[in-house]
Symmetry: C2
Subunit: 396 residues, 2 copies
């Protein structure tokens, strides 16, 4: 059978994160950016479900509006957006099937084939997957410990008139764990307005802060509406409901809603009713506080293990929140080529860093996630990985 | 603010079906193709939910596989696909967020800009919305009372080498209610193989048959894998779970799953767990039988009302299943222009037929749905609509 596919179909690649290799239960994996399932608020969700099915059951199973349920949009505006310093209303919120879908829709409405997207270098590999159908050119912007470097971004905006959007993860970035400074957030909002290029501010991890004060969203500095913020319940409530949202001004938001309607009509109605009821009955802030404690402890242990089990030359980031540590090995090591050996011989897995670079990039990085691995397993897994890396360093 | 959108974004239009005009409770609307909510099997769904949350609760809230849960895919293969004469296994099934999304993914993997899609004329307007990002050219194929005319399709396939897919709704088609004959189904499968063009067989209504024997799916005549069948739980269980599926051979299905993964990772895990449990605990066939009785009665009344309340020159189809009656008024009448008057003066609404024609098309058709309107309201609404149409005929 020789099927004729679209040219676009040739651009789709399996996610480096959703690799079936990681499903082997003998392997300790730091690959998945999954939240810890034992902390899902089952009691609160059960209660919310009972209320939904007892009350509005039939409407919870029926079609619903493409922009999402009004009550849920209100709660997102008043609770989640307020938590990151953005004052807004339900009119500026639309629901998506996770923020993954919102990234896809951003490419759909802003990007033509060959036009460009500026983003941090490295950035979320799943975003490249979501944007692949639109065949963009990437303009990677360097980062330091304060996030995307604004001088480099401005230089790119000045010289490349076909940059159609700036994709950024300012809080506890995936894959580096690095956060953007407040000063740069303000500057990014200014640059977006000055160069009339929308910023897609992807913020799935912002609530999961371990120390210090939460930084206001880039969106909070947005005066004219050039910042589109993407939020998600996947890391705070649970990912199985597939609920994310877009916060944007009326004109841009309407484009997103039309695009979402054509794609799959709407988010799951029961999922939206459940989230609405849960947020009405419970304090998500309290729940988030428990998540912060758990993930902080895991991060602490992982960083401690790096000191104890890894060669002195190995460097890694020190995230103040979120799920990820970004580790740099000796430039001579190819972490992609080494993954199979790590998994088969040392029974430990990670995501090779290469897939997080939109264009060329180093092969000596790995992304480690501590989010869904308990303390004993982090200890054991890091010991294994450290032994593996130590062995590889000896061969250098 | 002058935002620079993609060229593609200019192609998106609000769905003619999801028109907010129809939300006014004073208006009796035959517009929505919604299922009747009072027949959602709340008891069975409650029980299934309780089992899911009591047992696998945490995994039901976690990320899940992009192709969908294995258990649900098995039940779809053994129950739903068997019901339309297709012998298959879970390996050939992948879940999508409603069949709307599966239509979108079909365009994504088969259609390049300007390449062509053959489809019934008229066809589902929502499919045009789903496919809009891929800017296809449409090759509309005429229908008669046995569905798409195969001679005309073959002529098109022979002369237009850039037809990339054939989109069809063989059962109780949207908007006409017409079904394809068994002979033509067999022929369509042959033509697909002969011309090496995939058929996208969209089958959301096939279970809802009112009389006679269910016709085997086009997919049941597929020997080499050129037919991709799209199924849905939206019309048999409920639409709020957003669960549809694709049945296709391994190679094509893998493309769909990769495309779905990039788009939004996966369907809702809780939704999939709930459907799996529901199908395990209950007979969906029995439930479908109750739906058939309800919708048959509504169809009967609507067709009877056409005879009683409408001018003699008005013609309409006689569907043997599904949700829709397709009515043709005098060619001088523009049903799009008349909708506002019908809604504001006669308090009755329908979908103007124009949007169901992919290219040029007549403006004298209307789509009427009896699916979510009770008998008394059908009687009253058809009386109103008949009075309106009678008035308009007098002016001719």
């Amino acid at each position: 059978m020789e099927v004729r596919y679209s040219e676009r179909a040739g651009l789709f690649q399996a996610s480096a994160i959703r690799n079936k290799l990681f499903d082997n239960p003998e392997i300790i994996t730091f690959a998945a950016g999954k939240p810890e399932a034992s902390l899902f608020p089952l009691g609160g969700i059960d209660k919310a479900l009972a209320e939904v099915m007892g009350g509005e059951g039939k409407s919870a199973l029926q079609y619903g509006p493409s922009e999402g349920l009004a009550g849920l949009r209100e709660l997102i505006a008043s609770q989640r957006m307020a938590a990151c310093g953005v004052t807004t209303t339900a009119d500026d919120i639309a629901l998506t099937s996770g923020s993954q879908e919102a990234i896809e829709l951003s490419g759909r409405i802003f990007v033509d084939e060959g036009s460009a997207i500026a983003c941090e270098n490295p950035s979320y590999t799943g975003a490249f997957g979501a944007l692949a159908p639109y065949a963009p050119r990437y303009v990677p912007i360097s980062m330091d410990e304060d996030g995307m470097i604004m001088e480099e971004l401005e230089q790119a905006l000045r010289t490349d008139p076909d940059i159609r959007m700036i994709y950024t993860i300012p809080d506890f970035q995936n894959p580096t764990g690095v956060s953007m400074s407040v000063e740069r957030r303000r500057r990014l909002a200014e640059l977006a307005a000055e160069y009339r290029v929308p910023v897609i501010e992807d913020c799935p991890y912002g609530d999961l802060i371990f120390e210090g004060e939460r930084r206001p969203a880039v969106k909070s500095f947005d005066k004219e509406g050039w910042v589109v913020m993407l939020g998600s319940f996947s890391k705070t409530l649970c990912p199985g409901l597939r609920l994310g949202w877009i916060c944007a001004g009326k004109e841009i938001l309407e484009k997103y809603v039309l695009a979402k309607q054509g794609m799959n009509l709407q988010c799951g109605t029961l999922d939206m009713c459940l989230a609405e009821r849960y947020l009405s009955l419970n304090s998500l802030e309290e729940h988030i506080s428990a998540l912060q404690d758990l993930y902080r402890e895991r991060r602490d242990l992982m960083l401690d293990c790096v000191k104890r089990y890894f060669p002195a030359g190995v460097r890694c980031t020190h995230p103040h929140g979120g799920f990820f540590v970004w580790m740099e090995l000796d430039p001579a090591l190819d972490t992609g080529a080494l993954l199979l050996k790590a998994a088969s011989e040392y029974k430990v897995a990670y995501i090779p860093g290469r897939s997080f670079f939109p264009n060329e990039g180093s092969s000596s990085f790995i992304r480690l996630s501590y989010s869904c691995v308990d303390l004993a397993t982090i200890e054991e897994g890091m010991k294994r990985l450290g032994a593996f890396v130590t062995e590889e360093y000896k061969k250098l």
